[in-house]
Symmetry: C2
Subunit: 368 residues, 2 copies
């Protein structure tokens, strides 16, 4: 689709394409979240699911970190569990308990009973929120859509709620692998098509979150997570926008994820040093996104700055989108979040080779 309003700040999209950039772009996972008093004010008048389902509220909190923190991309306020809900899993979200599916999916019959979704009608409220945000952003920064990856959604649907060990979901993989494959198959298509719909509604990039990738060992990751993540990513890519894949806890598989998904960027969690992540990806044509430990934002501001600069130096200037290595925590001070974003935006590269200077100069001209 064509974007009527040209982007003022397209650093994020250019970094995704591994083009030279004047500076590294930055955003934060969960940037529209509880660490912001302005978010808590909206949240106090409404529950989380109502916020997701009300485009005006979702749009309002999506825009807050753009205005207040100055990040280089917006990500739509929503939840990964809207897809299972649209497939017919009744979802509850009580204060202090977290999201729950009171009727978990644990049998072949339960999987067969799931609906095939039409994202345009079933998840129209997210698409409406994207359109609204896109209009209100008016080209300031790009807008990211997102979805949960099949394994992560399946594990929630089977467990029925959050868990530390995922023993119930993993039990299905070992005890009833055919049922698990059927569930994952349906999810891969639903997630892929939902991402396409988000791009058509205005999302300029898509991030797939395989948040529970780390619950699987290598054999199970390769059998139950990666193929379905890859299929969802490939369907998403048919819409023409770049795709970022983030599979925290599976840093050992960064190279396999890049190969299988053909993603434009790979999210990197904080368990791995930036140089190691780059090394594991080798000379693949893929950007990286990450990876400051969110707990770093508890440190004094000078220390946040020091570590942010060190991270940027280690990732290097090309094909890197600065981010945290996980979502920002709810008790972080907005001043500390701002210090992180500002440190990225004011970073000076310690040494620049001649070829990099030429590349940077060309890029600056091209952007004007």
């Amino acid at each position: 689709m064509s974007d009527a309003v040209p982007l003022v700040n397209d650093l994020f999209l250019r970094a995704l394409r591994r083009e030279p950039v004047e500076r590294t772009p930055v955003w934060m996972m969960r940037q529209a979240g509880r660490y912001l008093p302005e978010y808590r004010a909206v949240r106090s008048g409404s529950n989380f699911l109502t916020m997701c389902r009300t485009p005006a509220l979702a749009a309002e909190v999506t825009l807050q970190p753009i205005d207040l923190i100055g990040v280089d991309a917006a990500i739509i306020f929503s939840d990964i569990l809207v897809v299972p809900e649209a497939m017919g899993c009744f979802l509850t979200l009580d204060e202090g308990v977290g999201p729950q599916f009171p009727t978990p999916i644990r049998s072949a019959a339960a999987v067969k009973g799931l609906r095939t979704i039409d994202p345009y009608t079933d998840l129209g409220y997210v698409l409406d929120a994207l359109k609204l945000v896109k209009r209100e952003l008016n080209g300031r920064v790009p807008l990211i859509g997102f979805a949960g990856a099949p394994w992560t959604l399946a594990s929630y649907m089977v467990e029925g709620k959050g868990t530390k060990q995922f023993a119930i979901a993993k039990k299905m993989l070992f005890e009833q692998p055919a049922v698990a494959h059927d569930l994952l198959d349906r999810l891969a298509n639903a997630v892929g098509e939902y991402c396409v719909a988000q791009v058509e509604a205005g999302a300029q990039a898509i991030q797939l979150f395989d948040s529970w990738a780390g619950a699987l060992g290598p054999n199970e990751f390769r059998e139950f997570a990666l193929p379905y993540l890859a299929r969802a990513a490939k369907i998403a890519k048919t819409a023409g926008a770049p795709v970022i894949v983030f599979a925290p806890g599976a840093t050992w598989a960064l190279d396999e994820i890049a190969d299988a998904t053909q993603a434009d960027a790979i999210g990197v969690d904080w368990h791995i040093a930036p140089a190691q992540a780059r090394k594991r990806l080798g000379n693949r044509a893929v950007a990286v996104q990450g990876n400051l430990d969110p707990c770093t934002l508890y440190a004094p501001i000078a220390e946040i700055e020091r570590r942010t600069h060190a991270m940027l130096d280690e990732f290097g200037p090309i094909g890197h989108i600065a981010n945290l290595g996980h979502g920002i925590l709810p008790d972080i001070s907005p001043a500390h979040a701002k210090a992180f974003v500002r440190a990225v935006q004011q970073h000076e590269w310690p040494t620049v080779s001649e070829s990099e200077m030429i590349a940077a100069a060309t890029a600056t001209v091209g952007a004007q």
Copy 2:
């Protein structure tokens, strides 16, 4: 110390020394646990902490998996939190809630208020249990003592209870690093000396559990976990028994852990393929222990056997102690646990080179 009764089955100790063995030894983390009806019977009449503090009860459940499952080593029934408790942290353990320290350690003053322990008096009940088990084992299999590693204990003491993100404990690392170092320093000495006392009471090997190693990124692991784990391991080794170090979630650091701790064996969690773990350890003179995903025991028995044999083939016959890659889960059927143990004990090596045959023959003669 000298062992009055010679061991009938010393496979575990020989594998720790990377000597040739007729077959790979096997035990399971949490093998004295809730998956056994016989354990639940003892547990129904007593609470967990009382079981830890009553040598006769601790000894009874320690011996159950030797008799019932046929593992090649016993590990004393206890809990890693007995050390913080001995240091003055009041510990509660309510059903369904898990262990808690109602007064968490979050300030310099709180750390300074901790007691220096004398393991011989403060933890005499564990030492008595070790002596009792040693007597009742009567040389059937070796006895393992254990302790939590400093970072893992510190994170519990600071959080006050179990957690997913360890944000409070990590906040201390970033906000008050000097306080964290003071706490870790005290813990390293306490843990090391407690391990020495366990060996003197009869433990023939020590396992250090850095269960929350995976909560730290590389920088923090190297600053706050590894040096203190290494010091505890080195103090433990002065008692003369082999030391196993298990730091789940830090598979990226297997080589660094081996170098820093000089452990005899490195525990391997299920996040990494056996061949990868061996590769990361290179030609270091260290044994490995692990690493079947505990959820594998949900699979049908034929599948448990297939995967166990595949794991053994991948680790190879020398310097490997078969184990799960994490504690056995409470809802596993004892028949499936037994199937795992039996599969290890009946494993036939697919191809044996001439030098390996000679080595095995020599070892068999030596053991008789």
